[in-house]
């Protein structure tokens, strides 16, 4: 079953997360209207792999920049202002720009892929309030643990708690 709780204040939300972790529910689905770094720390959310996308994008862009400038200069060897055909200082500028461009593009791609975006359906338990003015916690648990989960969710005073017998009915929360 799915138990969903609404919180008006960040502190209450954090208290509920701590209480859930005490009963060994380590990764409830948390919804936040803004980035709460304390919540992410408390939930112990793993680091984002997006960082590696940016690093790899930057490395690729840098190599692409050198390849582009050197290979095209050899392909069309235009002697200008007594600068060598393969001239490192001017090419460095283009490599830097290519590095930033590819890193930013890869970062956006990593962000989209790891978040499984674009997403057409809603996560079970999602409510519009969670995008606007409330924090939310959605916990999936067997019926036997329902009471303990409810207790933990009310450790930080919840505004509202809803229970759903299955995941599919939970999506009906969306307005």
């Amino acid at each position: 079953m799915l138990v969903v709780a609404w919180y008006a204040k960040e502190e209450h939300f954090l208290e509920a997360i701590t209480a859930l972790r005490e009963i060994r529910i380590r990764h409830p689905r948390a919804f936040m209207p803004f980035l709460s770094e304390r919540a992410i720390e408390t939930l112990d959310t793993p680091p984002s792999p997006t960082r590696y996308w940016i690093l790899l994008g930057g490395i690729f862009g840098n190599f692409a920049g050198w390849a582009l400038t050197i290979m095209l200069s050899i392909y069309w060897p235009h002697w200008v202002g007594n600068k060598p055909i393969i001239s490192i200082p001017p090419f460095l500028i283009i490599c830097f720009e290519m590095m930033v461009l590819c890193a930013a593009g890869a970062g956006l791609m990593g962000f989209i892929l790891h978040n499984r975006l674009p997403r057409l359906d809603y996560y079970p338990g999602f409510d519009d309030c969670f995008a606007l003015d409330h924090f939310g916690l959605a916990v999936e648990c067997p019926s036997s643990r329902r009471e303990r989960v409810r207790e933990a969710l009310t450790a930080g005073p919840a505004e509202f708690i809803q229970e759903h017998s299955d995941r599919s009915s939970a999506t009906s929360l969306v307005n």
Partner: protein
Amino acid sequence: MAVARTQLRATEPTFEEINQGVLSTLEPPTRSFFLAAGGLALIVALGTAAWGYQIYTGLGVTGMGQPVMWAFYITNFVVWVGLGHSGTLISAVLYLFRSRWRPSVYRAAETMTVFALTTAGIFPILHLGRAWFFYWLAFYPNERVLQPDFHSPLVWDAFAIGTYLTVSVIFLYLGAIPDLAAVAAASAGVRRTFYRMLSLGWQGTDWQWRNFSAAYLLLAGLATPLVISVHSVVSFDFAMGQLPGWHDTIFAPYFVASAIYSGLGMVIMILIVIRRLSGLHQEITPWHFDQLGKLTLLMSLIISYAYLMEAFFAWYSMDPYEQTTFSMRYFGPMAPLFWLMVWSNSIMPLALFSRRLRRDLRFMFILGIFADIGVWCDHFVIIAGSLTTNFMPSQWGFYRPSWVEGAITAASIAFFTLMYIAFARIVPVISLTEIKQGARWLHRVRTGLRRGTA
């Protein structure tokens, strides 16, 4: 609403009140909006007609000719790139420093960057006699086996500005995704579907925020050196030349500072207009202008230092060409523009030492206008002014802009404004999520419980 806003000062704003205030900027446009947009579209149409006339007749309809081959269009290009400069800089640098006053200003600044760069990108094409061949700057397989010369600062420019525009769009869009999801949540019907598509179905889970913060932080880290590099590269267009008045090693930091200064002037004006028209008095406070004023003052002092150094180099080098160029700049036909520039960029901003004036929105608006005029004059004096006095007095000449250049310049301002006001009707120009994040702190600063620090 006025009563509710007065009451808000005594208590911390709730999330509902923040939503209500910011989302009110997205209400359906009024008649006055359509009138303003229609007027701006008309100016853009007139400018486009002037460009058509220029293409049909040739570049002779402009005031350009020997020796001044770069004038209004290239000045406008450099100024628009500069205006776009401070948007991403304010956003990225202040994000890295976790500045508390960033949330109220950064979206407006980033939006300015994107549209200013779009406007800037038009000018090199306008400057071409045969504008339809602008794609020759790109590398592509062709039967003439010609490729761009990567040693040329003009090619660096194309790469730098292209990258800057792309990264700025990514940065703006990424930061706006949670806000677009909030707008979707507060909407219904087609509007809801539209905003859900724009927000890619964002739902604000802890994992999504984790990925968001990693991507946003690293993009801010990448954008910061990029911002510095872009206007440095633009300054190389001139500094790499041998012309007296252009060949100057101080140009890179000087151009970066003047770009940030002009961008700050524009951000100040835009925020004052948004605050007044949308009634966002709680979200954009005099304290924000106080912080922007300090940054503007810092940039002004750097520019003033550059002016003094330029004069010193000309005198100390004992180079007669350099000395003649600068003497013509100070006392020749360009002198009125030069002294207007000194007033706008160096003397008037000294008033920002006064905390009272930094919080006086009327003064800040006027300063914003002068900052942009001053930087335009600055670049015009450097670009066109230096070209009037070449090495050989026999090559000297003068430049007078034609009505075509004036019409196209006016159209570029109208184009930028039109794009901006249309965008501000679709995307919140104040970040909903970050305002909520800093709501308690902002309230404490506003009510004097805590002294704000940048």
